[in-house]
C-alpha cells in the first residue's frame, strides 16, 4: 500500500485530529522539532479507497483557504498541486507504487 506524507500548518493539528479520528489505523501524526524550527504538522497516510476521499476533501479545503499543504512521496514534493487536481493526484499516487 502506498504511503505518503502530508504536511499542514501546525495550527491545524487539533482540527485535523478531529477530522481524521475515524481513520486511526491508516493515519499517523508525526511531531518533528527541526533545526530550522518550521511549525508544521505531518501526517503519514496509507492511501486506499477509504482514505483517499477524506484526505482529498481535507486537502482541497486547505488549498482553497490558502493554507499550507505539501504532499511528499518517497521524499519528493508533488509539484503543481491545486484544488482542481488534488483528487487526481492522490489517485495517481495510489496507482504508481
Amino acid at each position: 500500500m502506498t504511503k505518503i506524507l502530508i504536511e499542514f500548518d501546525r495550527t491545524e493539528e487539533a482540527m485535523l485530529r478531529q477530522e481524521l479520528a475515524n481513520l486511526e489505523s491508516e493515519i499517523t501524526f508525526i511531531d518533528t522539532q527541526r533545526f530550522d524550527g518550521a511549525l508544521v504538522v505531518q501526517i503519514l497516510a496509507t492511501l486506499s479507497t477509504v482514505t483517499v476521499p477524506l484526505l482529498a476533501k481535507i486537502i482541497v479545503e486547505r488549498i482553497r483557504a490558502n493554507r499550507h499543504v505539501v504532499i511528499k512521496k518517497q521524499g519528493i514534493t508533488i509539484s503543481g498541486l491545486n484544488a482542481d487536481n488534488a483528487v487526481k493526484v492522490l489517485a495517481e499516487l495510489t496507482k504508481n507504487d
Binding site: K3, R34, Q74, G80
Partner: protein, 378 residues
Amino acid sequence: MIDEYLAAARRVKPASEPLVAHYNFCYESLLGLTKESASNPELYVTYSAERRCELITVGQRTYLVYDQYLGQTFNRLNRIQYATHGSQDLSRALASKYLAERLLQLGSPVIAGFLGMVAHQFENNVKEEGNPFELSRENEATRVNLIVAQELFVIAHELAHFRFSLDQERSSEETEYYINQFLDYHRTLPTEPAATRDHFDTARYYEETLASQQCIPELFADDFGGLIAFQVAVRAFGLPAWQAVAGVVLAFKYLRLFQHLEVVAHYLCDVATVTDPSLFAKSLSKLADDVGYGAQGLRIAQLREHFLRYRLSQNEETSNVSELIGEYDEKTEFPVVFGLVDRLRENLTPRLLAGFAENATFKQDPTAMIDELTGWVK
C-alpha cells in the same frame, strides 16, 4: 513506523552498518553525560538526501534521527578546507550539488538538473589541475578528528533540545546566567579606548538581538550540546582539545551554511516557474540582495556562534581554532553565500532553463540524470 515515515518524507538509502555502531557509541557516551531519563529518545540512523538530524515523535516514542549523509557532507567540507587547490570552486560545487538535490526533492527538476550540471562543471575545472584531495598525513589526521567532534555536536545539539523540553524553566535560567557572563565579558574587555567602545557596542548589539528574538532554546542547545560533544571528543576519542573545539564550531557554521542553502533552494523553486525574462532577472536580483541570512538572521547567527565560542574557550580557544575558522570563511562561506547567487544572477535565464529541459537524456528520465550528475546513485 519511523522507517515508514522516513521512507515517505525523505529520499533514503540504507545507512552503513559499521557507522551505525559508531553513532550508537557516540550517543551512549553523550547520554552518559546527561541526567538519566527513561524517556530519552532512541537513536535512529538514516542516510537521506535531506541531510537532517532531528527529533521525531511518533505516538509515544521520540527518536533522535541522525543522518549519515549530513556527516558525509561535513566530511567533504573538511576535505575542502585542506584541499591543495581550488577550495572556492569546490565549495561552489558542493553548494550547487546541495541545491540540485534539494530542488529535486522540492519538485523543481529542471533547475535541479541545471544546478547538477553546474556542480559537475565546477568540480571538473578543479580536477583538471590535479587531485585537490591529496592531503598530508597530518592534515588527514586532523580531518578525521574534526568529523568525530562535528558528528558528536550535531547529535548532542538535538539531545540538548530534548533536555530543554524536559525542564524549560531551569534550562532557560542556566542559559541566561551564562549569557549574562558572556555579555559582561564583552562589556569589560580591553582598556584601549577604541577597542573598548567597539566591545561595548558588541555587547549592546547582542542585548538588542536577545531582546528581539526568542533564541534561548537554540542557545541552550548550542551550549549544552557543544560542551558534552567536547567532553566526549576529548575523553572517549582522545582528540586534542583545540581540534574538538574547532570541530564543534565548524559544525555549527556548516549547519548555518545549509540553512542558507535551504533558503536559496526554496527561493529558486519559486523563480523556476517564472517565464518572463525581466521578471526572472528581477527575482534573481532580489535573491542576491536578500542573500546572507537577512539582517535579523545574521545577528542571531553571530550571537549563537560567538556565545558557543566563548563557552568553549573556557576549554581551549587557540590560534589554531581561529585560523581554521578564518580559512573556512574565505574558502567556503563567502564564495557560497555571496558568490554563487551572484553567478546565477549573471548567467541564469528562463531560456537557458527551457533549453536544458529539452535535453534528450533529461526528458527521458529527469531524476536519473540529476542523480547521475550529483552522484546520488553511487
